[in-house]
């Protein structure tokens, strides 16, 4: 039990402030704080939830929401791939929940644990639950605060742009690959010139994927 709280408290240090920030930002949408809590229960994905505030404020269509969130969270596929082995002896419902709850932070813990701990399925299930609780709790605090204080600071939504910039810098540092950034800029220009602004995100993602495929085929041909 002591071990469970020890490992989960590290995650709580990140989840409580970030969850609170999400909750406060969510209040900018004008929706009841209950929806912020519902999102944290059903989605449980920090950057995706923060991005959803931008999508909600812009009135993005559902297809845009789906594709953006799916592609943004695509890395989670590889987390679950990794967890297939340690979680293979988990009872089915616990396995489904634990795979669903495999966020960046929980995966980081799982991948650093020794094999005996990884294979302790009861421990991993409880850890996943407790980490999820911290996220929901943080979101609830922020959402209730933001909603009750009727926070409507003009310009607060800029924090999302700043968050994307910070995450982009981290991504670039990890991958050291400027090609996706260049492709994103080119596809934005193409979409704007073609007048597809109304569906900017989905159009620019599609053009971006097309440019990626063209570049990959060209690089393969020249090898």
């Amino acid at each position: 039990m002591k071990d469970l709280f020890k490992h989960s408290s590290v995650v709580a240090l990140g989840y409580l402030p970030l969850g609170t920030a999400f909750g406060i930002l969510f209040s900018e949408t004008g929706y009841h704080y209950g929806y912020a809590i519902l999102m944290s229960v059903l989605v449980y994905a920090g950057s995706a939830q923060l991005i959803s505030v931008t999508l909600l404020l812009a009135g993005a269509p559902l297809i845009t929401v789906f594709i953006t969130i799916f592609l943004l969270n695509s890395r989670h596929f590889f987390y679950s791939l990794y967890a297939l082995n340690p979680y293979k002896k988990m009872p089915l419902m616990q396995k489904l929940y634990s795979m669903f709850a495999l966020t960046d932070e929980t995966f980081s813990l799982l991948s650093t644990f020794p094999k005996e701990r990884q294979n302790d399925t009861a421990f991993m299930f409880k850890l996943s639950l407790l980490n999820h609780f911290w996220w929901i709790f943080g979101s609830a605090i922020g959402a209730i605060l933001g909603y009750s204080a009727n926070l409507n600071v003009d310009g607060l939504e800029f924090s999302l742009t700043a968050l994307f910039i910070v995450l982009l810098i981290d991504q670039y540092k990890a991958a050291k690959n400027i090609k996706p950034i260049i492709i994103a800029i080119i596809s934005s220009i193409i979409v704007t010139i073609l007048g597809w602004d109304k569906h900017f995100l989905i159009a620019s993602i599609s053009v971006g994927i097309l440019l990626f495929c063209i570049e990959r085929a060209y690089a393969k041909h020249n090898r």
Binding site: Y35, L71, S74, T161, L163, F164, N177, R216
Partner: protein
């Protein structure tokens, strides 16, 4: 399907659950695919760059008014500030906090 808040949450939940539960359903031969690994490295950076551009584009600018240029400068300066502070401090909260505060102050006084 209407774009209500509940539908948005459900769509997000399905999209996220799919990314995390797909390995349970896919045949093994797809896991080792080189293309999949390259796409996994490509997508997050593509999406984040597009989101930076998207969030700046969706800001409330009335470009028929000359005054809106002031907000364009405020946005650019605040973005550069976020990048600079993060580069120096490596602290996400300082970078986001200070740049957001600067943008709020710009909007208040411009």
């Amino acid at each position: 399907m209407q774009n209500t808040i509940v539908n948005v949450i459900l769509v997000m939940a399905v999209a996220t659950a799919l990314t995390r539960l797909l390995p349970l359903a896919l045949p093994k031969k797809y896991y080792e695919s080189k293309l999949l690994k390259e796409l996994n490295q490509f997508f997050p950076t593509l999406i984040l760059t597009l989101l930076v551009i998207y969030s700046v584009r969706s800001a409330n600018w009335d470009i028929s008014q000359i005054n809106s240029l002031k907000f364009a400068y405020a946005e650019i300066i605040s973005m550069l500030l976020a990048a600079l502070i993060y580069k120096i401090s490596n602290n996400m909260f300082w970078a986001i906090g200070i740049s957001t505060l600067s943008f709020i102050l710009f909007k208040m006084f411009l």
